[in-house]
Symmetry: C2
C-alpha cells in the first residue's frame, strides 16, 4: 500500500525561510489578510485531506476507472464523496476572489496545496482544477452578469467547469478548428461541433457543468484571429439561477488511456447547443489562454506531486529492502543483508528525485509569487516585470517540471526493482498518471517553441536577460562559504546569456533553426532556474544551523555535481544547425529502403 | 491500428554491407551451411510471421491478459495457435544445435529474427525466449541423458522452459535464497520453496514446462557458492519420454503488472517437488548464468524491437498529421495545414529514435557475431578475445540498449501528442511493455555494476582496453571523407580510456566510488559503442551510392551532432566523488524534518 506524508517541513522552509512569504504578504495591502500561521494551518488541513481522503481512492480509482454508459459518465467509488468534502472545505475557491465565494489566498500558497492533491490523486485533482481554470477565464473576460451566474456555483463545487479546445483534426493548431457558432436573434449562439480530449467533460460530481468552448462564427477571419469563446452549460441556467432544460451538449464516449483513468476524458458533441459569448467575438483565444496558462503551471505541480509521492515510497522501500552488502563491509551484520541504501547507485536515484522535488517546489512557489505580484501588486513597474517573468517561466513550469518529474518517477520505480513494475506498489500507476502532464495543455515540445519563439526571439531576448540579471544579482550577494553554488549559478547564467545570443542570431538567419533547438533551450533555462532555486535554498539553509539545513546544503552540492552537468550537453546541442534535421526529405521518415 | 513492416532493407544492409556476414560464415567451417540467401529467406519468413501472426494479437493480448484460475494459467486468445505455428515453423530451435532438432543458425541472424517478434508482441516472445534460454543452460551443463530427454521436446515447442531464481526476499542477491533441495535415496531431490516473478511459470501453450530452479542443499556453503540448479518438470517425464504424474510444482498466482500483460508472471510454489540436479551441487549459478547472459542480450533486442515499432508508427503519424505551417512558408498550401514533419522538433524526436534503431541493430549483430565466434570458431585466441568482448558488452547490450530504447519510445509517443496517450494508437502499450526490459534479468543499475566491477575494475581495465584498441584500429582506417565520424569516434575512445583510468584509481582509493559512478560509466561505454557502430555503418554506406546510403551518412552526422554530446555529461558525472551520495545518513532518506 503506497504511503504519502505531506512534506510540510519542507513546504514551511520554502515559504518561511527561502521566500519569507509572511513579510511579502504583509507588505502588500491586498495580501495583508494572510500570515504564516494561516498559511501553515491551511497546509496542515490539506495534508489531512490528501492523506485521508484522496490517497485511499487513488489505486481503486485507477482500477475502476471512469465509465461511460448511455450518454453519462460515472466516476469511480469514493470520488463523489471526496469531491463533496473538498468543495465543502472551501478548497475549490482557495485562490479565488472573496467576492465570488473564494478564500483569496495567494498562489504561493495554493501551489503547495495543489501539490498534495496531485501527489495523492492526480485523476481526482483534475476535476476541481478545470473548475478553477474556467473560473479564472470567466473572472477575467466574462460579463458581470455571467460572473454572478456562474462563479459562486463553480467555487462552491455545485457546478464544475471544462475547457473545450481540441478537435479531432486540430490540437496545437487551434486556427483550424471547425466548431461553428451561429448567432440567434436573442443574442445566444448555437454551437455545433465535436471536441475531443475534454477532461471532466461529463461526470457525476456536480449538478451542472460549465463548458468553455472555442468556436468560429460563420464570418470569422481565418486562423487563430477568428476564434470566439462561449459558455455552454450542460443544463441551461434559468434567470433565477435554477437549472433548466438539458442542453444539447454531452459526451459521446470516453477515451481509454495509459493513465489518469479515473479522470473522464470525453469526446464532446455539441449539437446546436445553446452558448453564451464570453467577451467579444474573435477574441476567444486570449480568454482561453488565461485558463491555459493557469493549467500549465498546474501541470508542473502535477509533476512535483508525483515526484514527491514516488520519492517517499522509493525511499521507504530502499530502507526496508535488504539485499547485498556495502562495499565497505556489512553495515547490518546481524541481518542477512544490508539495506539497499548502502549502494551508491540507489542513493543516486533517490537523490535525483529529492533534488528535483526541492528545486521544483521552490520554483513553483517562485512562479506563484510572480503571479501574485501580477494580481495583487499596485506597483505598475513591478507588475510589468512580473508579467514578463511569468510569460518566460510558464513554459518552464509546465515542461521542465514535468520532464524532470517524469525522469524522477522512473528513477523511483527503478529503486523497487521488479516490484516497481507490479501494480500493488503504486509506482507504475504514478508513472502512467504522470506521463500525460508532458503531453496535455500543449506538449512539452510546444512549450519549448513558446519559450524560444514568443518568449525569447520575439522580444529579442529581453525576458531572459531580465531573469539572468535577477539571478546574477542574487548569486553575487551570496556569502563566500556558498561559493560552490554561487559560481555554478553565475557560470550557468553566463552560458545562458551567450547561447541566447547564438539563438537570436541563428533564428534571424534561418527560420527553421529555433524549432529544432527549442527543447534543449528549454532544458538549459530549466537547469539555470533550478540552479537559482538551489542558490536561494542554500542562502536560507546557511543562515540556520542543524541537520535539516546541513542536508539542504548537501543536496545543493549533489545538484551541482551530478545534475547541472547536463547543461553542457544542452548547450552543445543548441549550437547545432538545423540542417542536421531538415536535410532529410519528408519521404525519408516512412521510407525504409 | 498500429503498423509494422519488418525493416528488412536495413537488416540486409547491416548483415551484408556492414558485417559482410556471408564472408564471415563461409570462412568458418562450422557456419559454412549459412549463406546470405538462406539468411535473407529466414528473415523474410519471420517478417511474415511477425506481421501476420504476432502483431494482430498484441493489443488484444494486452486487453485480455494472461489469467489465473484454479492453479492454472490461460493465455489470451490467439496465443496458443500462434505458439503452435511458431513451433511448427522451427523458430524455437532457430539458433539451437541440429543434434537436438535445432537449425544451427548463427546468433548474428537470430538477433534479427528476435527483433521482429519483440517489435510485434513482446509478451508472446517471452514464452519461446525462456524455452531457448533453458535449452542453452541444459545444453551447456546437463547430462547426455537429460539433454536427450528435454532438448528435442523444448525445441519442438511440445514443452517449454522457465528460469526460477527470484524469491520474495531475494532478487539481485541470490546468495540468500531459501528454496531447499533435499536429496532422495534415488538421486532425485525434493525441492521446496517459493519463487516469484517467474515468466511463463505456467501457461497453456505446451504440454509440459521444464522449470530450471535454483535451490540450496541442506549442507550447502552460505552465499552464492552454495547454489545448485535443478530440473523440475511440471509433469514428471517417464523413462519412455511420455508424461507421468503432475509434479508438486505450480503457480500460486500471477502478478498484475504495468505491461507485458499477456505474459504470465507467476508466483511458483514448490512443495517437495521432484527435481533433478543439473551438473554438480553448488555449481548452479554458473549454469544459470549461461541462460541469464543469453536473456540479457535478448532484453536489448526487446528494446530495439519496441523502438523500431514505435518509430514506424510515429513516422507514419507525423506524415499523416496536418498541423501548423513550416517556418519557411507553407509546404502544402493546398491543405489546411502542413504535415508536422515540417517542424524541426518533430524530426529531432523521430531521428533520435531512428538513430537509436540503426545503431542498436548494428550493435546487436556485432555482439551476436562475437557470440558466434565463441561458439563456432576453432581459433582459441579468437575465442578468448570474443569471450572477453561478450563479457564486456553483455551489460551494454542489456542496459544501454534498453535505456536508449525506452527514451526512444517516449520520443515516439510524444510525436503523437495526446493521441500517444490513448490506447488505440498502441504507443502507450509499447512503453508499458518495454519498461520491464530495463528492470528484469538484473536491473540496468545491476548491469552497470557488473560492467564497472567485474568487467572493468576486476580485470584492471583489460576488456575495455582491448575494445578501445579495436575501435581505434577501425576508425583510423576510415577514409578522410569520413573524418567527421572518425574524429568523433577517436575522441570518444580517448575519453573512455582516460576516464577508465580515473575509475580504476578511484576504485582503489574508495570502495564506494564505483557503485555511484556505474550507470554513467555504462552510458559512456554505450555512447562509444554507438559511435563505433556508426563508424561501421558510415564505412559501408560510403562505399555505395544512392539515397539509401546517403541517408545513412546523414543519420551518422545526426548522431554525432545531437546524441553523442551526452558523453560530456556522463564523463563529468563519472569524475564526481562518491561523497556526494554517501555523506547522507541512512535516516536522511525517509526523514523529512
Amino acid at each position: 500500500m503506497p504511503i504519502y506524508n505531506a512534506p510540510l517541513a519542507d513546504m514551511k522552509f520554502i515559504l518561511n525561510d527561502v521566500f519569507k512569504a509572511e513579510q511579502f504578504w504583509q507588505a502588500n495591502e491586498n495580501l495583508a489578510h494572510v500570515d504564516a500561521a494561516t498559511a501553515e494551518a491551511i497546509l496542515e488541513e490539506m495534508a489531512k485531506f490528501a492523506q485521508n481522503v484522496t490517497l485511499p481512492i487513488n489505486r481503486t480509482g485507477d482500477e475502476e476507472g471512469a465509465t461511460y454508459n448511455n450518454g453519462a459518465v460515472t466516476t469511480p467509488a469514493g470520488f463523489k464523496e471526496a469531491f463533496k468534502q473538498y468543495a465543502e472545505g472551501g478548497w475549490i475557491g482557495l485562490g479565488a476572489d472573496e467576492e465570488w465565494g473564494g478564500q483569496g489566498m495567494p498562489k504561493m500558497l495554493t501551489v503547495l496545496a495543489d501539490e498534495m492533491l496531485f501527489a495523492t490523486n492526480p485523476s481526482f485533482m483534475l476535476y476541481p482544477l478545470l473548475s478553477v481554470g474556467a473560473g479564472m477565464a470567466l473572472n477575467s473576460y466574462a460579463s458581470q452578469e455571467q460572473k454572478e451566474t456562474y462563479l459562486p456555483k463553480i467555487y462552491s463545487g455545485e457546478w464544475s467547469g471544462t475547457m473545450c479546445l481540441t478537435e479531432p483534426h486540430a490540437g496545437t493548431d487551434l486556427g483550424i478548428i471547425k466548431t461553428k457558432a451561429e448567432r440567434n436573434e436573442d443574442g445566444t449562439y448555437n454551437i455545433t461541433g465535436t471536441k475531443i480530449f475534454i477532461t471532466g467533460g461529463d461526470h457525476d460530481l456536480a449538478e451542472n457543468i460549465i463548458h468553455l468552448v472555442l468556436a468560429k462564427t460563420p464570418d470569422a477571419p481565418a486562423g487563430s484571429r477568428g476564434i470566439s469563446l462561449f459558455i455552454v452549460p450542460k443544463f441551461i441556467v434559468n434567470t433565477d439561477g435554477s437549472l433548466g432544460e438539458r442542453n444539447t451538449a454531452g459526451p459521446g464516449s470516453i477515451e481509454h488511456k495509459m493513465g489518469i483513468k479515473a479522470s473522464a476524458t470525453c469526446v464532446m458533441n455539441f449539437d446546436a447547443a445553446k452558448g453564451y459569448l464570453v467577451g467579444n467575438e474573435n477574441e476567444g483565444l486570449a480568454a482561453m489562454f488565461v485558463m491555459m496558462n493557469y493549467e500549465r503551471l498546474s501541470m508542473g505541480i502535477q509533476g512535483l506531486g508525483a515526484s514527491e509521492y514516488a520519492y517517499q515510497n522509493a525511499a521507504q522501500y530502499a530502507t526496508d529492502r535488504l539485499q547485498g552488502r556495502s562495499a565497505t563491509g556489512a553495515k547490518s551484520p546481524q541481518k542477512p543483508a544490508d539495506s539497499i541504501l548502502v549502494h551508491g547507485d540507489v542513493r543516486r536515484m533517490l537523490l535525483n528525485v529529492r533534488a528535483n522535488n526541492e528545486a521544483s517546489r521552490a520554483f513553483a512557489v517562485y512562479v506563484g509569487q510572480q503571479l501574485d505580484i501580477t494580481k495583487f501588486s499596485t506597483d505598475a513597474e513591478a507588475v510589468q516585470k512580473a508579467n514578463n517573468r511569468v510569460a518566460l517561466l510558464t513554459p518552464i513550469a509546465k515542461a521542465y517540471l514535468t520532464d524532470t518529474a517524469f525522469q524522477a518517477t522512473l528513477d523511483a520505480q527503478m529503486v523497487f526493482g521488479g516490484h516497481g513494475y507490479i501494480r500493488e506498489w503504486g509506482m507504475e500507476q504514478c508513472i502512467r498518471d504522470l506521463r500525460i502532464a508532458q503531453i496535455y495543455e500543449g506538449t512539452n515540445g510546444v512549450q519549448s517553441q513558446d519559450l524560444i519563439g514568443r518568449k525569447t526571439i520575439k522580444c529579442n531576448g529581453e525576458y531572459i536577460a531580465e531573469y539572468i540579471e535577477e539571478i546574477r544579482d542574487f548569486a553575487n550577494d551570496l556569502d563566500s562559504d556558498l561559493n560552490y553554488i554561487k559560481d555554478a549559478t553565475l557560470d550557468a547564467a553566463t552560458e545562458l546569456e551567450v547561447i541566447t545570443q547564438t539563438v537570436l542570431e541563428r533564428a534571424k538567419e534561418n527560420p527553421d533553426y529555433a524549432n529544432a533547438a527549442a527543447v534543449d533551450y528549454l532544458h538549459a533555462v530549466g537547469l539555470l532556474s533550478f540552479s537559482y532555486m538551489f542558490a536561494k535554498i542554500a542562502k536560507a539553509a546557511n543562515a540556520k544551523s542543524g541537520e535539516f539545513y546541513q542536508n539542504k546544503l548537501s543536496l545543493v552540492n549533489y545538484f551541482i555535481q551530478r545534475i547541472l552537468p547536463d547543461l553542457n550537453t544542452r548547450i552543445a546541442r543548441i549550437k547545432v544547425t538545423s540542417d542536421t534535421v531538415m536535410s532529410f526529405s519528408e519521404d525519408y521518415f516512412t521510407n525504409q529502403s
